[in-house]
Amino acid sequence: MAGLNKVVGSYEEALKGLSNDMTVMVGGFGLCGIPEGLIAQMVKSGVTGLTAISNNAGVDDFGLGLLLKTRQIDTMIASYVGENATFEQQMLSGQLKVILTPQGTLAEKIRAGGAGIPAFFTATGYGTPIAEGKETREIDGRHYVLEPSLTADFALVRAWKADTMGNLVFRKTAANFNPMMATAGKITVVEAEHIVEPGELDPDHIHTPGIYVNRVIQGKFEKRIEQRTVKAAPVIL
């Protein structure tokens, strides 16, 4: 009996069932808070035709950029893709279908998807190209756009701490899209920096309850920094 123990022993097992043409959500903002090992496993698995939902597209040689390079992604739903030259080139040449989505709308689409809400009205994007073809409505004198929610076959999430039951704690700005994505995957896989026993996480401090999580794997992270900025060291005389 595995009971509620969701820990798996290998990355193969973590992504078991992932196949061609699936939709995959991948947590992270830039390279911060991305499930590095699960992305590497997607590359290794060779699945193609993926629709990837992630705020960014990584950089050329890290993060989701790795899956773009191998042309495993067909469609990308993201808010900002400026850091990736491969991405820009595949988008401009039409090899990659891109659905640019405002960041807050993207976050809310995922939150709503996980919460069973099929669509919502937002003022974001009204009167801009992203509202084209979408239903709009005037409510109390303001104009809103109807945005459908998002779910995925797999949600790949990075957490700081997970207990074996899949209760999660995120760390600093590595949380970003991870908490919502954890709720919106048919199969949610968590790559954790630390796995602890049930009871070790204070229930008051859990960000994502384990009910949303299907699999947990112990990760190893490079934690690459995209823009390493430090303040000038004080001059000691």
Binding site: S79, E88, R171, E226, K231
Partner: protein, 218 residues
């Protein structure tokens, strides 16, 4: 003289009020953080999930898990909080941020803004800009008044794809500080040494000029 990047940031900083929660966009708006008056307390919001952004870290305190919306490593001040992207945009969309400062390619006399896309040239995505302009009531756009050839970026109608429709009420350029209302730019202040004639010549949209146009003070 047209304002420098630093002067633009300094002028925006004069609009900060004690107790404000403020979101600063990438570029010139980020520099505003360097000019927050000593005698007031403000909290900087970074839309990737941080309220209470501090200065850059040292080599010793650098943390890959702590970045700002420009993906730069930062620190968190005492009293800061971390949260998800959904929570972050609930703050923004829900109108809880007191002041938003962001850049633009074009702004028009209706208060519409274009800042995210130049068809055929630049497609990087809108990031959080569309949510920020739709959610905030108090927005200052910082931008250049005209391009290098002297073509105005303050237009009767934006030519580039919009970021937001009819949502901008104040614009600070390297030449002038203006309000937008009733379908026109209203000149409030001019950069030191810049003539009203130059501002008129470089403003394509409808411009209302009061009898007195004071110079900005620093």
């Amino acid at each position: 003289m047209a304002l420098s990047r630093e002067q633009l940031a300094q002028r925006v900083a004069q609009e900060l009020k004690d107790g404000f929660y403020v979101n600063l966009g990438i570029g010139i708006p980020t520099l505003v953080a360097n000019y927050i008056p000593q005698d007031i307390e403000v909290m900087l919001q970074s839309e990737n999930g941080l309220l209470g952004m501090g200065e850059f870290p040292t080599e010793e305190t650098i943390d890959a898990d702590l970045i700002n919306a420009g993906k730069q490593t930062v620190t968190a001040v005492d009293g800061a909080s971390f949260f998800s992207s959904a929570e972050s945009f609930a703050m923004i969309r829900g109108g809880h941020v007191d002041l938003t400062v962001l850049g633009a390619f074009e702004v028009d006399e209706q208060g519409s803004i274009a800042s995210w896309m130049i068809p055929g040239k630049l497609i990087k995505g809108m990031g959080g800009a569309m949510d920020l302009v739709a959610g905030a009531d108090n927005i200052i756009v910082t931008m250049m008044h005209a391009d290098k050839k002297g073509n105005s970026k303050l237009l009767p109608k934006c030519e580039l794809p919009l970021t937001g429709f009819g949502c901008i009420k104040r614009v600070l350029t390297d030449l002038a500080f203006m309000a937008i209302k009733d379908g026109a730019f209203h000149l409030l202040e001019r950069a030191p040494g810049v003539s009203v004639e130059e501002i008129v010549a470089k403003t394509a949209g409808k411009l209302i000029i009061p009898v007195e146009v004071p110079e900005m003070r620093f």
